[in-house]
């Protein structure tokens, strides 16, 4: 604690005779901060010139008056005069910063996929979660890298032109589509979206959907995500049937949400050994509520829960999605055991942004938007990257270039990318 005294009280500080100050007229009623009177150069710097100068004055006055200033203040040298000082040597210093002590609760580890030794048929499994800090922070290394699952649909759908070009040859075969994203585009996982089951689209039966899931499981040996159509009435029946045919594979069932019969999906996950994707819409309290219901009411084990707190595209609400995820992750690390689960992002939503797919800006006042072929993938990359920094673990994505670049940056920050060192000392003169 610092103690403040007035100049008129200076005498008592020295334990001397206050009478000695008589006859000395000191104007103003300035206060000096005793806690900072150590007057070494760093302190003077911290105090700023004005305070330092004032303190110097005080000491000089006191010296004239015969007070043992140098004994009291440790015999410091002259500091911080009015004219700028010139130094001939750098002040030596060490920089240090502490680790975050509030992050004591690790994020739950969740294993996706199961190999033959665990009752499945996947070649290998993926582990998400386990973090003890925000992603890529020095406080604690991230135990598992980010992973990417690529979208496959059970029927042809409308896609941005830049996306479509990659899938035209496989658009009628979910199995071939799945093979392609794993073989050619480096997908860690595959998401099969059963959109044809929507009563407003084709109303495909749960049994038919289950057949598609079986085909995908046979086509690839990576873990998979089983996605419904998003129809709250139909999804529980579809996911139940698919969970059954995929028994033991530890797929992600996407999704349980508060506006459908989540208990049925939770039950299917328990019965057939899958992971539940707990999906809420940009609302941290709803996410807590759904997670709590899945655990307490439905009896889903912690290691079988993954969250999707909703992804909004860059320029279309990513600020909410980012902060929502960051708050969820910080709450989890700080001890909220209803929120410390790994997270998944529907990064493909980035393609909803008009900047990602429109030929040019609909607004005449805008600067030229340039070719859209380049805009789309970077929109998907930056949407995903931003959420990776907020703590997202798994990315559902669509464009191969976006997948490749997002992998490159997330694995670089994770620490698994080795490259030759680059000398940046002369960047100013670089010819670029």
């Amino acid at each position: 604690m610092t103690k403040k005294i007035k100049l008129s009280e200076l005498g008592s500080l020295f334990g001397g005779d206050i009478q000695a100050l008589e006859g000395v007229k000191i104007e103003g009623d300035v206060e000096i901060d005793l806690g900072s009177m150590g007057m070494n150069p760093q302190m003077a710097y911290a105090l700023g010139h004005e305070t330092a100068q004032m303190a110097m004055h005080l000491m000089n006055i006191s010296r004239i008056l015969g007070y043992p200033v140098d004994q009291v203040f440790g015999g410091q040298q002259q500091v911080a005069a009015a004219a700028p000082k010139r130094l001939s040597k750098l002040i030596e210093s060490k920089f240090s910063v502490g680790k975050n002590e509030e992050w004591k609760t690790p994020i739950q580890e969740v294993i996706l996929g199961a190999t033959s030794s665990d009752g499945g048929t996947r070649k290998s499994t993926i582990t998400l979660g386990g973090e003890n800090a925000l992603p890529y922070y020095f406080d604690s290394p991230m135990p598992h890298r980010n992973h990417i699952t690529m979208d496959v649909f059970d029927m042809p759908i409308n896609m941005a032109k830049a996306v479509k070009g990659n899938y035209e040859d496989v658009i009628n075969s979910p199995a071939e589509w799945a093979k392609k994203v794993v073989r050619d585009f480096g997908a860690d996982m595959v998401t099969i979206h059963l959109i044809s089951t929507d009563p407003n689209i084709k109303d495909t039966s749960p049994a038919q959907a289950a057949k598609t899931v079986e085909e995908v499981l046979q086509a690839v040996d990576v873990p998979i995500v089983i996605g419904g159509s998003g129809n709250p009435e139909k999804d529980p029946a579809v996911l139940e049937k698919c969970a059954e045919v995929a028994e033991g594979e530890r797929c992600i069932l996407a999704s349980a949400s508060l506006n459908l019969d989540y208990a049925r999906i939770a039950e299917a996950a328990k019965k057939y050994n899958h992971v539940v994707l707990s999906w809420t819409q940009l609302e941290i309290n709803a996410q807590k509520e759904l997670n709590r219901k899945l655990m307490k009411q439905c009896g889903v084990k912690r290691e079988n829960i993954l969250m999707d707190p909703t992804t909004a595209a860059l320029g279309y609400g990513l600020d909410y999605a980012y902060t929502n995820m960051e708050r969820i992750r910080l709450a989890g690390l700080s001890g909220d055991t209803e929120l410390n689960f790994p997270m998944s992002s529907g990064t493909t939503n980035a393609w909803g942004a008009r900047e990602a797919w429109m030929t040019s800006s609909p607004l005449k006042e805008d600067s030229d938007w340039g070719p859209r072929e380049y805009r789309g993938p970077i929109w998907e990359i930056i949407t995903g990257l931003t959420l990776s920094l907020a703590g997202n673990d798994l990315f559902m994505m669509m464009h191969p270039t976006a997948v490749q670049v997002l992998k490159e940056i997330t694995q670089t920050l994770y620490g698994s990318k080795e490259t030759d060192p680059v000398n940046i000392d002369n960047w100013i003169t670089a010819v670029v």
């Binding site: 700028p84 002040i91 910063v97 609400g317 970077i378 670049v405 960047w427």
Partner: protein
Amino acid sequence: MKLNSPLQVYKYLPQTNCAECGETTCMAFAAHLIDRSKKLDNCPPILKEAFKKKYIELITLLAPEIREITIGVGERAKKIGGDDVIYRHQLTFFDPTAFAYDVWDTMPEKELVERVNKITNFKKFYIGKFLRVDMIAVRCVSGDAAKFAAAVKKVNETTTLPLILCSFDPAILKSGLEVVKDKNPLLYAANEKNWGEVAELALTYKVPVVLFSPDLDKLKSLALTFGEMGIKNLVLDPGTYPQGKQLKETFERFIKLRRSGIKEAQKDMAYPVMAVPLNAWLVYKDTAAASYWETVLASVFTVRYGDIMILHSLEPYAMLPEVHIRETIYTDPRTPAKVAPGVNQVGSPTKDSPVIVTTNFALTYYTVESDLSSNKINCYLAAVDTDGIGVEAAVAGGQLTAAKIKDAFQKANFEFKEKTSHNTLILPGLAARLQGDVEDVTGLRVLIGPPDSGRIPGWMDKNWPPKPK
């Protein structure tokens, strides 16, 4: 800032409740000082001589943890730094990252002028305003002081944007400074070798200066030394390495600097931090690959604590995501994302004009509204109260329903029979599944618009006026 409750601030205020600041009480004003929505200078009484001491104390206590520095002069002058929190939800981030794009002194004059104009004039519409970029960084590639001065002169004649003068050679920096000494440019940069001479320039010309060292001990030495010499308008460049382990370490340095400045209140290093995503071009030569990676680096350091950065690519696919990610991070999370529900006029609608439905999510509403007005479509636009949720999510989540739509028109006293000749409503393409319900509930004819409001003009050509059934 060092104070965290209105009561602490109140102690320093005149406590007269004079209301000259526009607030009814000093306590209310104190709350605005804490959330930084008002400035101390908004209080006329405290500026008077009698309160001078309290004013000086309070202004020091209210100063942001990260020093706020101004670069440039006039309307386009830019403040950087000024932050008080490490996560945006704790308050908001202040002074959006300044984006400087480079030019160099070996460019032919015509190209130089074109590039400067392109940077100066860049704009992108977003929620009722235009996003822009901020500065020009002039790099000395020639090694020739006269050539550098000539380039700086040309840039200065072409734009009012603030400048960053880039060279590690103090003589070259000086030649540039002479040309723009009244424009408050940022000097880049002092390092371990040239610091004495660069400090002399900063003192002589009273300009802000960047300190460069990827070694944080050395960076701190530089900051302490400059501080000791009375140079406080500092920016720290801890080095931006473009790839591999070096990039991971770069990321860690940004986290460490900001944590030390805000969480640990280490004043010695509490300055704005600079990133140089341009360094992506040191490893990628292909324009698309380099632009992509540069945008990736710019995004990483916009999210994590870069206050100013130097960039190279002017490709729209680099600049568009860059200005949007900055907006994402710096948008004030305290500002409501909703517009008032109601039925609004766009242009001057008549009885034959369309009636279009959207949600009251601010992003959606302003996007639709600007698409309509920019294309001079006169119409009625209904903002349905969906609790500020966008169309697709609101349909899925039950916040946008036939009943809610009917309610919106009823509350606005909007009678279709009286206001329109067509008795027709246009739903967003993403709400197509509500068509039947809305017809049943409202008795109106319901058309399905395009999934993106940017396509309304084309849609109107084909579908409006509605064909008789």
